[in-house]
Symmetry: C2
DNA sequence: CGAATCTTTGATAAGGATCAACGCGCGTGG
DNA sequence: CCACGCGCGTTGATCCTTATCAAAGATTCG
């Protein structure tokens, strides 16, 4: 039983966090599991969160990463369709789903905001599907870097908060391929790597063309 | 200039169909293109529609298929982010997007229905991403058959309204791989093929397990 | 400082793509 | 009515991208 199993077990015993509160999660801590009742949804206050699906044989697909300000865990049905885990130590605000009904009843604009939120998430999921279905490894990694750069304060150097395994599972690749692709991009002077987690986008234009 | 180019060109000249009307589209006719103003959205009255993205080098990813009753073309932004084309001859009802605002203003429940619609579409897109990212060719094809069976009236024999190329571009594969996978499934007695477009799901359980 | 985890690199294998050719079904025009 | 042509589907041979297996750095943290 590894570290992750321990926190997952703890999660099963304690249940989901109390709604309305701010909670801290250590790295890799499970926030909710696939199949859990979707009574709450969440907003990232600090840190990075991933939502993912595990297949029976251990394969994992990461659906999305969420950073400060992002809302996640709002579902179409009664249960969470993906798991959510802390990529880094994170502070998360939880909300009661049933409070949404009250808010939409009073506030007309709020309904429309909710709709807009869902549509934006949909657009992102669709782009992700195109990436997964019809892009090569280099194109996938380039697209990921360009995407993540938008979240990074510093414009030239971006800080990858997640592991290579996370990136691989987001892009539908293996760690080795992701690593090799980074090396390839570096050899071709598209990026530099001050350290494994810090990537300087040396040639943003060519990266962008790759991820076209 | 092939047949499809001709209708695409025609579409560019004539513009999008008038909103509020029922329109018929012949097979492969472009309903709207990526980048077109999303002034209208649509409902399938009859037939099958696909939404897809074309990459610069001709690769295509099909986002979704829509059958009678399905709504498509509603966007987060001002433009359509995918193209829509008739898979079969189709009758399509178009609606003005700005009429939505009026409907949501008057009718409270309608806003929530819109939200629910978007969330369901999101859930489907997410499942599609898992399929594309982490599934083998057999698993993809099995999942597609199980999925499409839900749309077929007859329970044992399903009728594929789309070409192998469509299926391939939906699953992130090539035509040849799709064809070979069908043959493989038939050899292993999971399906039978009375004809290329009619598939009998002989062993639905094993198909379902594959698409788990 | 040492153990565990993460990352990189190398060697090899495999799944799916690509290239090529043939068959089938269907509509059209002679 | 038949023959031809064309789009679609299947199958075969080969290639290539990415996965898998293995092991050696690098980094982090107790």
């Amino acid at each position: 039983m590894n570290n992750l199993d321990v926190v997952a077990e703890e999660h099963r015993r304690l249940g989901p966090p109390v709604a309305g509160s701010v909670l801290d999660f250590v790295q890799n801590r499970v926030i909710y599991g696939e199949g859990d009742d979707a009574n709450s949804f969440y907003k990232v206050a600090l840190g990075v969160v991933r939502t993912c699906r595990f297949l029976s044989d251990g394969r994992r697909q990461i659906d999305a990463f969420y950073v400060a300000g992002d809302v996640f865990g709002l579902e179409a049905g009664a249960e969470h369709s993906f798991s959510a885990e802390a990529v880094t130590g994170s502070s998360i605000v939880s909300y009661r789903r049933r409070d949404l009904a009250a808010l939409t009843a009073n506030n007309e604009g709020f309904s429309q905001q909710l709709f807009a939120y869902a549509m934006q998430r949909l657009a992102r999921a669709q782009e992700h599907a195109v990436l997964l279905g019809r892009r090569s490894a280099v194109e996938k990694v380039a697209a990921f870097l360009i995407d993540w750069a938008a979240y990074s304060p510093e414009t030239t150097i971006i800080v990858l908060e997640m592991t290579r395994q996370d990136i691989a599972d987001y892009l539908g690749l293996t760690v080795e391929t992701v690593s090799r692709t980074f090396s390839h991009l570096e050899r071709n002077a598209l990026i530099e790597r001050p350290s494994a987690r810090q990537i300087r986008l040396t040639d943003r234009k060519r990266l962008h063309d790759l991820s076209s």
